[in-house]
Point group: C2
Chain length 293, copies 2
């Protein structure tokens, strides 16, 4: 554990405390785990009222990055250290959006290091007002650090959170960034400050969206649609998400990786939506390049 | 269309007719599709009483196998033709097993050809009697063609239908084979005869298992466990199944590929089973190398 992983651990605890209160004082399950090859983590899992299933995962792991894994990252092999916080929340109400955040730090014993991260919002039903609120908040966080960040990282998220086999984005996007290193490489603090700001924005970006939707009335069709959209979330995570694939293929901790899976999802052959319906509105907005602000 | 694809088309129709009757005269939805690059198929989909969701898919496609795809198959690029039948049935009752079958033929314009296929059974609750019935039936089909087939293809299925990230087999296995070419390469009929025998065994291997379980009483725990096991089925298909991955990554027909997804599945963090329960019995038998006969 170093300053960065200590920070991520406290970020996890702070976010869990706020989410626990927002859900109506529902406690998180706390599961500490060790990694045989070095390091470990704490998985915090919520089975709540407003949040049907939520995972807020911290890890700080170290070990040898073998030739194959190093080649995958396009860096020399050696000893590595990686730490971060990952969150996926699946709300109960179909009108509440799914949220994902990841903030992470990676370093090698040869002095190489970088930060990465992202937040993206996946509404079952797209509400443009929510998307505007979410993207405006992200832009504000980015602009305080570098005016080029929001447009660059927003577009990166559009490309990353995309299902080629459905020709759909996962949701309304957000920001995504990787291998973030300050312009002056020695100045690790400035990159770290940005990552902190992203992490600390999470609750203020999501909790208001949850609070204004969690008790909205819904019918069977809305619930069925939520299950279908959750099925798409599963498809993205298991087929296209690099982190999930890498974790499962390299003997990562399965339960911590797959806590991102929804509590219940469904698949129907060739599902069709009604013309002019809110479901069709949502599908027609699962596109790259929408400027929500 | 040639003799082989004509045969596969008639096999699809015959299997659908028998499944339709077995389900209580439930008709299949019939969806013909064309592939822009050449060929097409017919997806037949059942939303039934005993079978909650079933897909029996036929396709016969042709086109150019590009350098990358050819490299993946370790053969020279050129024009290809591929045809086959794929089946996945998700039954309603948790005590009825999921079944999968695939029989296929592939050829290149340079004269290269092979058959492939497999059948495997995925019970939510393992019943050794069902597994013995299923494997004995498969052995009988194999032995009529070559006494080495059953042991070789049974072991191949154990290795193929395996989830490394769960250290579990998908179910009780079955048989799997690929690049099947007769000892005398000219003698295509003998390989084709074996593949026909596998395809024609499907109904007699599965329908009896369905008929003796479809009306068995079950409780909420049984249903919940069915959803958890279906979640594992999703994980196998999206993360490990070569056919699914290849199809999704090469612009295959998404609806026909993902008809294998269950109608409803669930994920729970670190799901645990009771000591001495039928769920624990099942988990303890999701292992390679069990000789069921």
């Amino acid at each position: 554990m170093n300053d960065i992983s200590n920070y991520f651990k406290s970020l996890q605890e702070d976010i869990c405390q706020q989410l626990s209160i927002a859900d109506g004082d529902t406690p998180f399950l706390v599961d500490d785990w060790k990694r045989p090859e070095g390091g470990g983590g704490t998985s915090m899992v919520l089975t709540g009222k407003k949040i049907e299933k939520g995972g807020v995962m911290f890890s700080a792991v170290e070990g040898v990055l073998n030739e194959k894994a190093a080649k995958g990252l396009n860096i020399p092999a050696g000893d590595f250290f990686a730490t971060g916080v990952s969150i996926v929340l699946h709300p109960s109400n179909p009108f509440s959006p799914i949220i994902h955040m990841n903030v992470r730090y990676f370093e090698m014993d040869n002095g190489l290091w970088w930060f990465g991260g992202g937040i993206d919002l996946t509404p079952h039903y797209i509400d443009p007002e929510d998307a505007i609120f979410f993207h405006s908040g992200l832009k504000k966080v980015c602009d305080l650090h570098d005016p080029s960040f929001y447009p660059t990282f927003k577009s990166w998220a559009d490309d990353y959170f995309f299902l080629p086999h459905r020709k759909e984005t996962r949701g309304v996007g957000g920001i995504f960034f990787d291998r973030l290193v300050a312009a002056k490489k020695e100045d690790k603090e400035s990159s770290f400050d940005f990552v902190k700001a992203v992490g600390e924005s999470f609750c203020s970006l999501y909790i208001p969206l949850l609070q204004r939707t969690y008790d909205r009335p819904f019918n069977d069709l809305n619930k069925k649609w939520q299950y279908v959209r959750r099925g798409r979330y599963v498809e993205f995570n298991l087929v296209w998400d690099k982190g999930t694939k890498f974790g499962l293929e390299t003997n990562g901790r399965t339960e911590s990786i797959l806590v991102s899976m929804p509590p219940m999802a469904s698949w129907e052959y060739d599902h069709q939506v009604e013309t002019g319906s809110p479901e069709e509105f949502t599908l027609s907005h699962l596109k790259k390049g929408i400027n929500w602000i």
